[in-house]
Symmetry: C2
Subunit: 124 residues, 2 copies
Amino acid sequence: MTKNGERMVQQFWDLANQRQWPEFSALLHPAIVYLVPQTRERVRGREGFVNFFSTWPGAWNAKVDIQIADNARAVTTIDFEDETGTVTGISFFEFTNGLISKIVDYWPEPYTPPARVSPFVERY
Amino acid sequence: MTKNGERMVQQFWDLANQRQWPEFSALLHPAIVYLVPQTRERVRGREGFVNFFSTWPGAWNAKVDIQIADNARAVTTIDFEDETGTVTGISFFEFTNGLISKIVDYWPEPYTPPARVSPFVERY
């Protein structure tokens, strides 16, 4: 069963990178919910989510690492590359009846670290 | 095997919340590497990581959701609460020989969403 979730999220990103939206849509549950907690944005339903993703501006590509996956859930991290640079995306997937039924996306930005108490913290 | 990873990360957060640092330390591989990609901070080794975590200032508590876990990896999200408020943390764990050998932490901050092309995006 582990393989199913892995294959599902690999296909999700491959088809998005290839802009194969009908095939992409076939991976999604009709009642999919997409959330971005950092902005409190939400998209409900397969039609809306495909519209949201397929209208994303720019010549972007996602380089994918599948972090962990089973038959119910998966987590991927991506390097999302476009003409303005590269950002990291973290996506939590949930599956229902073999379809992607929920995605929660995070986009953590670089920031300047605070002063640290511990002397063991290095920069790389 | 799935249960091992789940139990490991549950114990990691429970023992940290309880400040039981010797027991906490026993979960960690001697050569553990801790990374914060957003700040490019790194801590190497069990002694350093326990020092870093145990000297974290303030009266904090982590409310944990184990997102997914197997015998090699796990991902948790936390509500990290202290006197200044609550922030979200995302932690990727790797296990080696039954010990936590790598942790990669992200701290995604709220931000104002850009203008969206799609009419299907709501705020919640």
